[in-house]
């Protein structure tokens, strides 16, 4: 998870940042599953929640990649430093 956070802050390529976000999400999913297994073995909510989260992250990735493709078409780059025009 901290690898994901680190990546998110240091990478300037949006694709790399997306991968970092996915890392964080996967780490969270594993956390859900593991904590569920060890703390409340009688219940199943944690598993379901991680499944749910995987579905959400898949959708989120699709949207993020669509945005990136559009940005690339417009500014010919997906480096964050090149898309600072949207401030103010």
């Amino acid at each position: 998870m901290f690898a994901g956070i680190y990546g998110f802050f240091t990478r300037h390529n949006m694709l790399a940042m997306l991968i970092s976000v996915e890392l964080m999400l996967n780490a969270t999913d594993i956390n859900f599953a593991v904590f569920n297994r060890f703390l409340f073995p009688a219940m199943k909510e944690g598993y379901f929640f991680s499944l749910f989260s995987i579905a959400i992250s898949a959708a989120e990735t699709a949207i993020a990649i669509a945005i990136m493709i559009n940005i690339y078409r417009n500014v010919r780059s997906i480096q964050t430093k090149d898309i600072e025009d949207m401030k103010w």
Partner: protein
């Protein structure tokens, strides 16, 4: 008589139709639509008058007051509501005849006069609007409906004065007319409010229990305020300044609105409220008489020296309306045999004046059409070229001068009798003003049709008689002027509604005839010859007086001074400064402070994603710390 509502609806439909569809219509079609509508209205008015006056009288000898149509328009409380409807009583039926006749004549006349003008269709649609609102004014069942139509009349007058909107003088005149009358109408509105508050109703008969409970004490105030509105519309001094300028409008409009119908609305208003005036506010009625007498004299003296024929006619109108006001004002009782004669005299004069004054204006229109100028210097000797106009103008001049057997004699004689009954001073003053009337009317008559001919101009323009559409109305109105005096007017209209037999009092009649003849003789002596040595030497001798009268006694300049120097300079300018610097300043400051604040914090929005994420992370960590601790 439910059909009377169509007297109002038809001209309104014609106004809408011509106003909306006129653009795609030919001039002839538009004119025909307007004229035929008015013809139908006139026919209905005559029918109404015939049925109304031939119906049997009530037991007390009066004609019944009919309200064939009435519906509640704006209910305020269970007792106070504004109604719309049609009221028929002797004076409203009389006004119906006056308005529809003059309006029909003007519609026909305008065919020739406005031929080929740009906006011909618009002109006819405005004429329809005016006819509708004027008819609505006289048929109003209550004072508020009257006020609504009163304002509509003002609007249509404004539109028609400013008809030639490319001329700056016409625009200025229309604005002046609208603002001055609107200013006076403020008094009218306040009067209505006072009246309805203390009288408990908008109708012409206030609730007697409300009057008992102290309302009667407020009636003089309410009626006085209403008279201010009437004085504005009827161009009484000092609110007369708009009428001479209103002559910038087309001449048929002057004949219809500014001679025959709209300007007598004030007289009609006083006559309408007359039963209240006489019972609750006889003092106010005397003020009406004095204002009327002063205005009549003032306007007559100005009319004696003006050189623009339409201006002379305008001042003559003001003077004649003064006569009508005096006649109403000198009434001291509801009984026509005991000092209520003036009411009948006023209405009679209103009727005859509408006919001969619109005739004078239409004649002036014929002349102006031929010589392309309002100034008397462009005229002179026109009797050879325009015989019909000449005879019609002469008849109207004789009528306004009070020479029998023309209509003006009979009505003016009644006014003089009523004035003499009130006080001999008032009677003599009015007789002298009647003499001045005869003098200035014959002054312009000789100036136009005799006198020195402007040969140079006439050779170029070849003045000749106008087409039939313009001369036929002249002939009809001249015919009415000849016979209208013999109408037994007192049989139909009198202050208490009962039949009153007019008998010409020989001494008064002789006095007025002698004064009229002497004044005409004086005018002949001074103005009939090609050169005018007497008039010129008099003008030189009383140079100051002459110049002052020529400049209308500088009343316009006084208004100019009051509005521009005092109101604009001392009140409006400081207010404008406060508005511009303090009120606008406050708003500008709030806008500026919002801008400055956002400008100083806008660098936070850097657009760098990593920076946002870092701040977000710090925030999340801080929250976690907070939760843990």
């Amino acid at each position: 008589m439910e059909y009377t509502i169509f007297i109002l609806i038809l001209p309104f439909l014609s106004f809408l139709f011509l106003g909306l569809a006129g653009k795609w219509m030919s001039h002839r079609a538009a004119g025909l639509v307007g004229t035929l509508t008015l013809g139908a209205v006139a026919a209905m008015s005559y029918l109404t008058a015939f049925l109304y006056f031939t119906a049997p009288r009530l037991a007390d000898g009066t004609f019944a007051t009919l309200i064939p149509v009435n519906f509640e328009w704006l209910p305020f409380t269970s007792t106070l509501s504004i109604d719309m409807g049609v009221l028929l009583d002797p004076i409203s039926v009389m006004m119906l005849i006056v308005i529809s006749t003059v309006s029909l004549m003007v519609h026909i006349y305008s065919f020739g006069y406005m031929k080929g003008e740009r906006g011909f269709q618009r002109y006819y649609s405005f004429l329809s609007l005016f006819s509708m609102s004027m008819l609505g004014l006289v048929l109003a069942t209550n004072i508020f409906q009257m006020y609504v139509y009163w304002e509509l009349v003002g609007v249509s007058s404004y539109l028609l004065i400013g008809f030639f909107y490319t001329r700056p003088a016409a625009i200025a005149a229309s604005k002046k007319a609208f603002i001055v009358t609107r200013f006076a109408d403020l008094g009218f509105l306040i009067g209505i409010l006072v009246y309805s508050y203390y009288g408990g109703t908008f109708s012409f008969h206030p609730d007697s229990s409300m009057l008992m409970a102290g309302g009667a004490a407020m009636m003089p105030l309410a009626l006085g305020l209403m008279f201010i509105g009437g004085a504005g519309k009827s161009a009484m001094f000092p609110l007369h300044i708009w009428l001479p300028d209103a002559m910038e409008g087309p001449t048929p409009v002057s004949a219809l609105i500014h001679a025959a119908t709209m300007v007598v609305a004030g007289v009609y208003l006083v006559a309408r409220m007359f039963p209240l005036f006489i019972v609750y506010a006889p003092g106010v009625l005397h003020i009406v008489a004095y204002v009327g007498a002063f205005t009549a004299f003032f306007a007559a003296s100005i009319a004696c020296v003006q050189s623009d024929i339409k201006r002379v006619l305008a001042f003559s109108t003001i003077s004649q309306i003064g006569f009508m006001m005096v006649a109403l004002g000198v009434c001291t009782s509801l009984d026509p045999n005991l000092g209520g004669l003036g009411y009948m005299a006023s209405m009679f004069h209103l009727f005859t004046h509408a006919m001969f004054k619109s005739l004078l204006f239409l004649c002036a229109g014929c002349i102006i059409e031929q010589v392309h100028s309002n100034e008397m210097s462009a005229m002179g000797g026109l009797r050879k070229y325009m015989p019909v106009t000449h005879i019609a103008f002469l008849i109207a001049c004789l009528a306004i001068s009070g020479i029998p057997p023309f209509s003006g004699f009979f009505s003016k004689d009644e006014i003089l009798t009523a004035s003499f009954n009130f006080s001999p001073i008032m009677g003599w003053v009015m007789a002298i003003i009647a003499g001045m009337t005869a003098f200035y009317m014959f002054r312009i008559y000789f100036g136009i049709f005799w006198g020195t001919e402007n040969k140079e101009l006439h050779e170029k323009l070849h003045p000749h008689e106008n087409p039939l559409t313009m001369t036929i109305p002249l002939v009809i109105l001249a015919g009415i002027t000849c016979v209208a005096g013999f109408i037994p007017f007192g049989q139909f209209i009198s202050s208490n509604g009962q039949a009153y037999h007019i008998d010409i009092e020989l001494s008064t009649a002789l006095t007025s005839i002698i004064i009229g003849v002497v004044s005409i003789a004086l005018a002949i002596f001074m103005y009939m010859r090609p050169t005018q040595p007497v008039a010129d030497s008099l003008a030189r001798k009383f140079k100051e007086l002459y110049t002052a009268a020529y400049h209308r006694f500088y009343v316009d300049e006084v208004y100019q001074f009051i509005t521009h120097r005092i109101i604009f300079g001392c009140i409006s300018t400081p207010i404008a400064w406060i508005d511009r610097h303090i009120i606008d300043g406050l708003l500008n400051f709030s806008a500026w402070s919002a801008y400055a604040t956002s400008d100083s914090i806008r660098s936070l929005q850097s657009g760098r994603v990593q920076q946002y994420a870092f701040v977000f992370l710090l925030g999340a960590l801080a929250l976690i710390l907070l939760l843990i601790l």
